[in-house]
Structures are given as structure tokens and as C-alpha cells.
Amino acid sequence: MPQDMVASPGFISHGITTMITDIIQAIFAALSVGSMYALVALGVTLIYNSTNIINFAQGEFVMLGGMTMVTLYGQLKWPLYLSIPATIAITVLVGMGLMKVSYRPGKSTSLITVLIITIGASLFISGSALHIWDADIHRFEPFSGEIPLKLLGAAIAPQSLWIIGLTVLVVVLLVVYFQFTIYGKAMKACALDRTAASMLGIRVKNMVLLSFAMSAALGCVAGIIMTPLTMVDYNGGMLLAIKGFSAAMLGGMGSFVGAVIGGFVFSFLESFAATFVTSRLKELVTFIVIINVLLFLPRGIMGPRVKEGLEQEEVLGD
């Protein structure tokens, strides 16, 4: 060890403290941003699992949740226990409407067509929001004030704790739902094999409707808890959907655990790149990693390790 560093232990400990503060700050930022990505990715996964549809309108549920909450809670001053259920109910209705237009079992609509339908729905919803509300950026007061909490010099907004806490709760509820309830199992069955599931008496269409409703509710909850920190405007949905979709891809399309992991990998990369490289190169660093992950693990981190399509045929040919 060089002499001068030994000679000034104070300097070293100061350097280490600021380093630790930086790391904790980066983790705080990553946790709250990652929760957002994870909630959107979970919504994308829910619908993908029951229908194979990649729903690019998922971000619109987030936007709708935020905007409706701005009106009910921020402007009309409804109490939280009324405004949250009302907001979720409205968004769920929109989600069910989306299912009616995008899901056509038995009709030979290609995946691309359905994809375009969801993109169209996304534009339709954000366009309608522009007319219902306006083009301004909105926000309402956080649930537990704005005085940041400090840990070793790093600060976190109380609202971030709501975001992280609710994300954990949502993940736990989803796991319980799919593992231990008959509806959850039925939905999983639909995802595995729709025809077989319907032969066993599961009403596939109802399950699909339920998955759209749940997905809308998820997006809505994300919108409600995020808005005090990130603001909401009618136009923000598509970008969120793309981030959520990328997170779901990274984690492995179709896997709930993967969606959550994907969301956090995304946010941690962004946050640490901003801290230790420069935020100028944040996106670059993030996407270099993601492209590499997908090159070497084409089905994402938690994706199924089975071969499909042409690859499968090769296997059969052996």
C-alpha cells in the first residue's frame, strides 16, 4: 500500500463513506424505478401468458391510473380509500374493453395483427386521455409527505417505500394466486394449453378476460403509486410499455419471476451506469448488457429452456 494513503486514514474513510453513500443512493433509485418497470412487465406477462398477446397498451393502464387518480384524489379530494378503488375500477373496465377488441379466439388473426391492434389501442387511449384531461403534466401529493428518509447520507422519498412495498405485495399475491387458488391454476392451465384447458371445462374466454382485468389493475396500481414521483401526462404510456416489454423479454417472456428480475436488472444497470460511468452513457451501457444477455440467453434470464419452431425441428431431425 502506498505510503501517503496509509498516512491519511481520514481521507480513505471519507472516500469510502462517500462511495457507500453513492452506492446506497444508486440502489434506492434503482429499487423505486425497478419496481415501476417490474409492475409494467408483470402486466405484460399476465396477458402474454393467457393469450400470447404482447400488449403494447400496458403503459396506458399506468397512465390512466395516474390521470384518474389526479382527478379523483388530487382535484376532487376524495379520500384514498374511495379514490383508489374507483380508479382501479375505471381502468379495469378499459382493460376489459381492450380484451374485447384484441382477443378473437378461433378467428385466424395473426400475432402481428393483434400486436398492431394493441398499439392502435394504446394510441386511442392516449388520444382520448388528451381530450378527457389535457396535455399538461400532472401530479398529486405523495401519500406520506415529502420529507426524505436518510440512510448513511443517501436519501429516499417516502413514496418510494410505498412503491417498493406495494410491488413486493403484488408479487406475493400473484404467487399465491397462481400456486394456491383454483382460478390461478386454471389460468396457468390456459397458458400451457388452451385447447386442453377448455376440454377440462375451463372457460378460457373468462380466464382471458380475467387476465386483462388483472393486468389493467396492476398497471393502474403502478400509475397510482408512481405519479407523485414521476408525474403523469397523457403521452407517457407507450414509453413505459416499451420499458416493461424489454424488462419482460430480458427476464424471459412468460415468467413472472423473470419479469420482476428483468425490471430490476434494467433499473440497476441504469442507476449504476449513471453513478459510476456517466448518465450520458446510461442507455448505451444498459442496452449493451441487454443485447448480450439476449444473444447468449435468447429466451431471457428465466425463460423456458425448451426449443421451439425451427430449432425444435432440428432436434426432431436428429
Binding site: 462517500t18 453513492d22 433509485a29 415501476m36 400532472h138 415529502e146 429516499i156 448518465s279
Partner: protein
């Protein structure tokens, strides 16, 4: 027989009407591509409302030497390619005499070569200094630009004894424009930039980057970004307890910024136009009456508040109309008349165009403001 008479009458009537209308004063057509959708729709919205209001009043009062003025609005969507095709359409299909419009700097720059080539007098409502520097023969602009605002800001900081600053900006036309002006001008005010990092408009948490500023010896922070970015930056800034004075660009200078950031905005300083603090201006300021009069007229007509962008449109409209009244719609004469605009007291300054200055306003049209108790107060 009666039926034929009726048909004949109708034909006669329409022919007369047609010839009559052809002889009636032909409207002067002005093209106006504005940002009318997307997050920035409030920018073009206020501009369009203002132009429509002014045109209606002008036409009611007899138009320009008896000819009504007609605006053709298109949505440029904030996209360079859309702006280019809309401008081409205005010139080739709609045959406009002049253009007043283009809401953003990044859509303004790509349309300049087109109006220069087709020689259309154009008053742009976006701020970037590159629009008029170097001077383009056919292009003028009304908003205060980064150069004027940053020079006011830096001279104020110098007067406060600030020598080292940290600079944050977004990676877009607005952020880059401000950043390059600050970087270029800072040395002449004896200010050095000790930290310089960028973020994007989509970022929702910039605490990791901001907390790096704590480790520098900067005495103040300048943030140059627009739309929601200054709001998020201010919240994050307070969240991590950064206690250096925070200076924002003029994009943060709005009621929306104060509403969205609440108590967090307390103490934030900015250099901006006189637009929002007009009632606090001394009566000796000639702009006071103009600004308040416009704000009142807009509110009366539309039942809502206008914004500074609407003000840019008003200035563009008045300058163009004065030139049209003087020179008619011959494009060469019109251009010369716009360039000869002198002493027009507008929303964003007192305009004096010249062959070497198509921006028209000076540093004197900018004031320093500080947020306190939910309003912007003028500071010296």
C-alpha cells in the same frame, strides 16, 4: 318547364356568386405549422389560439388594407420530418405568403433550408440561437434565445460572487443548446464549470447523478431542461438534500412548475422573460401594458390562462401584420419590411430587427426571478 327555370336560375346565381367572390378581396394566406399533439401540445395550443384570436379581430376590423388574413394550421408533431413535409405542403399546395410558426427548436432547424430555397418570409416561434445565427435571409424569430437568457443568468451569478458551477442538462436540442451557450460564455463571466453531466427527459430518478455534485466544490447548480425534467430534477435535488443554490432555465419559469414542485421550488432562481411577472413590473416598463392586455384578452376569449409560447405567437403575428400593412404580400418587399421592424413593443421584448440581427431583442428583456410562496418574484 318550371324546373328548368329553377335550374337556370341556380346556375346563373352560382356563376354570379363565383365571379363576385373572385373579385372580392382575396385573403392573404399565412402558414402555421405548430406542435399541437404530444406532451408539448400546450405550446402549440396557446400559439394557435392566439393566432386565431388575433386574425379574427384583424379581419373584423377590415383586415390588411381590405384583405382578410387566413391562417392555415398544421400539426408539426414536434417531429423534424413531419415539420418539413408540412412546410413543403404550405409552400407548394397552399401557396402561403409567409409562415408564422414552428414550435420547437428541433423542428425549426430542418425547415430553414426549405424556406430559404423557396424564399418565404418566415417568423419562427422557437428559441434556439442557431435559428438566426448565422443570419438567414428569410428567417426571423420572436422568443428570447438561450444566448440572451444565459448571459443574463451568468452575469447575475457573477454579481452573487459565484465562481464555480455544476451544470446539468438534458440530451436534447433544448438542453444541448443551453449547455453549449453556458460553456461558451462562462469564462467571460469568470465562472468555471466543475461538473457537467446530462440526463434525459424520460428519466424519473436522477438522484444518482445529482449526488455526485455533492462531492464537487461547486457553489451553485444550473439545470437546463424542459417539460417535466426540471420538475423531477427539483424534487430529486431537495430529496437528497443538495443545499447549493439551484438555477433553472427559463423553461421552468411557469406556474405549472411551481404547482408541481410545491414547497420544493422555494428559492429556485431563473432568468426569464417578463411574461409571468408582468403585474409586478414597474408602470414605466412599456411591455407591462402589452403583456397584461394580451393575457386578459386571451382569458376573456378562451376562459383559460395563456402561456409564454402564446406570447411568442402574438409577437410574430403583430410583426408580420405591421409588415404586411406596409409592404403588401410581395415576398421580397415583405421580407424587407419585417427586417426593418424597429421599436415594436412586444410580449417578449422591444423588437429591433436589422440585417445582422433577426432575433430582435436584447438582454434587457430578461429578468431574474426567484420562487417564493408559490409565485415567481422579480429579484435584482
Amino acid at each position: 318547364m318550371r324546373k328548368q327555370v329553377v335550374i337556370l336560375l341556380v346556375i346563373l346565381l352560382s356563376v354570379t356568386l363565383y365571379t363576385f367572390s373572385a373579385h372580392a378581396a382575396e385573403p392573404i394566406r399565412i402558414g402555421s405549422p405548430l406542435l399541437l399533439s404530444g406532451t408539448g401540445a400546450y405550446v402549440g395550443g396557446a400559439e394557435k389560439d392566439t393566432l386565431e384570436m388575433m386574425a379574427a379581430d384583424l379581419n373584423k376590423a377590415g383586415g390588411i388594407n381590405g384583405r382578410p388574413i387566413e391562417f392555415i394550421f398544421y400539426d408539426e408533431e414536434g417531429k423534424p420530418d413531419v415539420a418539413v413535409s408540412m412546410v413543403k405542403r404550405l409552400i407548394q399546395k397552399d401557396k402561403v405568403s409567409a409562415i408564422v410558426g414552428i414550435s420547437t427548436s428541433w423542428t425549426a432547424l430542418p425547415i430553414i433550408p426549405i424556406v430559404e430555397k423557396d424564399e418565404i418570409p418566415t417568423i419562427i416561434l422557437a428559441a434556439a440561437i442557431k435559428i438566426v445565427d448565422p443570419v438567414k435571409k428569410w428567417v426571423f424569430k420572436t422568443p428570447a434565445d438561450d444566448r440572451i437568457v444565459t448571459s443574463k443568468l451568468l452575469s447575475y451569478m457573477q454579481s452573487q460572487g459565484i465562481k464555480r458551477i455544476a451544470l446539468m442538462s438534458t440530451q436534447d436540442g433544448f438542453g444541448d443548446g443551453g449547455r453549449s451557450e453556458i460553456t461558451a460564455q462562462a469564462p467571460s463571466f469568470g465562472i468555471s464549470i466543475v461538473f457537467d453531466d446530462k440526463y434525459t427527459m424520460q428519466d424519473t430518478d436522477i438522484t444518482p447523478t445529482l449526488s455526485k455534485i455533492k462531492k464537487t466544490d461547486a457553489q451553485a447548480v444550473i439545470n437546463w431542461s424542459s417539460q417535466r425534467a426540471p420538475i423531477i430534477l427539483t424534487m430529486n435535488y431537495r430529496q437528497i438534500g443538495l443545499d447549493l443554490p439551484l438555477y433553472q432555465s427559463h423553461a421552468a419559469f411557469s406556474k405549472d412548475f411551481l404547482d408541481a414542485t410545491g414547497k420544493n421550488s422555494e428559492g429556485v432562481k431563473t432568468a426569464a422573460m417578463k411574461f409571468y411577472g408582468a403585474e409586478k413590473l414597474p408602470d414605466s416598463d412599456p411591455q407591462k401594458k402589452v403583456i397584461l392586455g394580451y393575457q386578459e384578452a386571451y382569458k376573456k376569449k378562451y376562459g383559460k390562462e395563456t402561456n409564454q409560447f402564446g406570447g411568442c405567437a402574438l409577437d410574430g403575428f403583430n410583426i408580420l401584420v405591421a409588415a404586411l400593412k406596409k409592404a403588401g404580400d410581395d415576398k421580397n418587399k415583405l421580407r424587407d419590411a419585417i427586417e426593418q421592424t424597429k421599436g415594436y413593443v412586444g410580449i417578449h421584448g422591444v423588437f429591433n430587427y436589422s440585417p445582422t440581427d433577426h432575433g430582435g431583442i436584447s438582454k434587457d428583456s430578461i429578468l431574474m426571478y426567484q420562487a417564493a410562496g408559490g409565485t415567481w418574484n422579480i429579484i435584482k
